[in-house]
Amino acid sequence: MTATGQDTRDAIVVGGGLVGAAIAYGLQRQGLSTVMLDEGDVAHRASRGNFGLVWVQSKGLGAPHYQHWTHASAQAWPELAADLLATTGIGVGLHQPGGLHFCFSDDEMAQRDALMGQLRREAGNAGYAYRMIPAAELRDMVPGLGPQVVGASWTPYDGHASPLHLLRALHAAFQDLGGLYRPNAKVTAIKAAPRDFTVAIGSETVRAPRLVLASGLGNADLAPLVGLSAPLRPERGQILVTERTRQVLGLPTHVVRQTEEGSLLLGDSKEDMGFDTLTQTPAIMRAIANKAVRTFPWIAELNIVRAWAALRVMSPDGKPIYDESERYPGATIANCHSGVTLAGAHASLLAPMIATGALAPEMSPFSARRFDVQKAA
């Protein structure tokens, strides 16, 4: 830092959540001197409310680029987890034994089979292994399955990890490698020029030829400052947490997973509540609990010890946005609602692209330009 309070770096990442931290870690690992600007606890903090799935199945229907991206991230995950452990000593609890999506009727099984089949066709040469598993066989895979479960879809790619340990490990690894983490650093202004960005945090500024905006819902306001758009909305999800039990559930499911410490997380709700994360709705909490108990009746006896709501970062079509500014080359935005699943891709695939100065051509379908279409009268 100079006497004028200006810090010059190779890259500035705005956002200290899972997306920003994974990219910042990836950039620093590439040898770029990087600063990560984290607004503070007034931010929406989606990364603190994540369910923790590394989930491939059912993502990217009709969008093979997204399916490939998610799949590639799941494949990059073991190396990410190993690197983080080696650098920081923090285990992130990654397990990728495959995952289950349960169906409660023959119709649901048929629809799910059709969806998975289409994903397989769209996967092309990349391949997409899945099985529809009937309840009789499922009973050997998971304990105490409810009588209403008819079957499940399974892919070998799915897994889970601890979002909080991941966030902590990414921050620690980033800093261990020499990255500068700036907490309570709300961006107050951005001065953009091609490959020359000056970001103000109050009276201080940082300057770099690369700027990454990864501030979740905050990107909606920041992206226009670099000639991009991020049309995002919050989609609320709620999670219930049971008391810890001895390990009982060997693989994650879309509604229930067991953490490495033993808690069962119950989730999978969606509601539009604006930016409200404080008012929890009993109807949603009841629905989450009911679905968990329909799936595994033995969960009914467990005490619920915590519950929370958090905001997914949703684009109009639910898929991620990765975009680079034509007007100000060097500026990139990254938004998604899968900060855990996509951490592998963000650290190992996206960061190297940003380091070289341009997103790869296969990233173009993720551009927010896909939303710039004329509305029919």
Partner: protein, 106 residues
């Protein structure tokens, strides 16, 4: 709103209730909590933590700290400081995480 807790240490004239802490009989005043019985029993730990296995005894006695978790009459993870004693109550240590009771729910 407020009322005096019965003295945990038995005094002359108390109505006493016999309970079992880790199998050992303990006599405590009627109305005392199961956690009081745990402390009177002299047992070295009523629970061990699920992740690190650290030993714990009742601490806050007001339902906040969860360090008094015990298996009481067969029910796992009860906050013993919030449970009044009953004659013959069995208060067993909660060692690590409880087990989910899968067979019973089917």
């Amino acid at each position: 709103m407020f009322r005096r807790r019965p003295e945990a240490r038995p005094a002359a004239g108390d109505q006493l209730v016999e309970v079992f802490v880790a199998g050992q009989p303990v006599r405590v005043p009627e109305g005392a909590s199961a956690a009081a019985a745990v402390l009177l029993s002299g047992t070295p730990a009523i629970r061990t933590t699920p992740v690190n296995g650290a030993p714990r005894l009742p601490y806050c006695m007001i339902g906040i700290c969860f360090d008094c978790l015990a298996e009481i009459d067969g029910v796992a993870n009860r906050q013993s400081c919030l449970v009044p004693v009953a004659p013959g109550m069995r208060i067993e240590p909660q060692l690590g995480a409880r087990a989910a009771r899968i067979e019973d729910a089917a």
